[in-house]
Symmetry: C2
Subunit: 325 residues, 2 copies
Amino acid sequence: MAVLIDNLQYCNFSEKIFRQLREGGVDAIHVTIAYHESFREMIANLERWNRWFEQFPTLIMRGTQAHHVREAQQTQRTAVFFGFQNPSPIEDDIGLIEIVHQLGVRFMQLTYNNQSLLATGCYEDEDSGLTRMGRAVVAEMNRVGLVIDMSHSAERSTLDAIDHSTRPIAITHANPDWWHPALRNKSDTVLKALTNSGGMLGFSLYPHHLNNGTNCRLTDFCEMVAEAADRYGAENLGIGTDLCQDQPDSVVEWMRVGRWTKDIDYGEGSASNAGFPPQPDWFNDNRDWDNLRDGLREVGFSRHETDGILGENWLNFYKSSFGPA
Amino acid sequence: MAVLIDNLQYCNFSEKIFRQLREGGVDAIHVTIAYHESFREMIANLERWNRWFEQFPTLIMRGTQAHHVREAQQTQRTAVFFGFQNPSPIEDDIGLIEIVHQLGVRFMQLTYNNQSLLATGCYEDEDSGLTRMGRAVVAEMNRVGLVIDMSHSAERSTLDAIDHSTRPIAITHANPDWWHPALRNKSDTVLKALTNSGGMLGFSLYPHHLNNGTNCRLTDFCEMVAEAADRYGAENLGIGTDLCQDQPDSVVEWMRVGRWTKDIDYGEGSASNAGFPPQPDWFNDNRDWDNLRDGLREVGFSRHETDGILGENWLNFYKSSFGPA
């Protein structure tokens, strides 16, 4: 039986959501445990997950290696893999890359919207590409098996990372800008370079990344996936919903503003639409994966291709990405 | 072939010492990575070890499970297991116990000479036993598989820990006080309670713990081990040399004083003998294990008992101690 993997969620997790994950048949999720956190603050987030693993051993399990996805499926649980959307937890210390890998972290974005010590984010005016430390960090991430994620990075920085990395990288949650021209979505040039080097694109279901936002139709989304499969190969595609279920709006403000400004930044939102946008009605939560499966079949994907996009492609990527080089 | 394990070293490690470990046939060592360090400072010490594992892959390997000892022996390397001599790295945060276990830490002292948040050290005037947090921490250490080490703890606190712990504990580096009455050495009452509950005593070769200090004779030491075997069973005995090779005297001051006083504390030393004491001539460094082996045989230990004391007993303890309860 094919596995189902959502390669990006940032829900306000609870027993309710863990049960919904199982109801929806989700075998693995990659969850964000840092936006702007320091190393020590990120550790506190890991501790919270450890507590959940102890409290809900029949629902969830810690995921650090690809085989944990099948183990979760066989025991009817969801394997939880960790990632950072920002390199803030590694501070200015390259030694922390191996430390966080030893703690089970498997994805790290080099930037989150802004310039970081490593590269440029997608909302900066100037994109200066990978920094000196950025190149050193990419090499170290390659060595230990920490996946480079450029979902929130700017164009040149993303191309630099693909070029400099000796292993395939990921864009865990974004869509093509030829479908919906948001700053967070990715150019055809980037997506070609990504997938030509064996990298993975995870399609986002976050409304600001969708054509017509919350009102995006399932067919429109799936036709975009079909076009992407023609351009980039179905085997390089997966899902990273960016589902932020049950989060209060204070959290989206933390994601956007962190501690880097005293002003308000609305990111992809606006003053009149500052909070989390409502999900499209065909993907409200983890029980709606069958809608997506049906939609993909209806635009012409084979069962095999659909299984790939909904999990098997991420699983293959996990197999070759999480161990030492 | 029997394994050789030294269950406590705090050398100023270097390629020279890693080579001496192999010359001496040492298959595993337990090394101290924290005396007074905060969590973040301890992480920096782990990073240094990660760098050494990367630099010297043919000499040393990271040890986290018992089978790593045999793997090291078979590949002619030394497996390095981590421990703390003080609970300072877990701060006041019980969640850090599982985090440090995930990072490979396998031993933690509840105190280092002084009162800690958990228990009382052997140099305090009053010994109030395990604290509230101490009892919670013992239970959590039992759960995850982090061994309680009471080498530097006071009598009542040690008995409390043995009593409260549901798994055998360790005194990794100390000697019986009936042989040499130092504050750091242990009473017959403690050693009986320790070994009756399956715990392990590692004999120290640190001169301040030896009868006649630096001038202690090998025969005298080995006769003490024979007496201890009569009282406590040879299968509960091992070695924890406390070897501090190549350390500058500034390090022994850090060990004794940390940041807890502005005054000087001489610990087991004195104003006229403040530095590291010279080792006895029969155990200068890791190439001298054959002297100890011969000495044990000469006082009447069988080959099997000698193999046990020099490594196999610790290996058995590792097998049952490092995994979840």
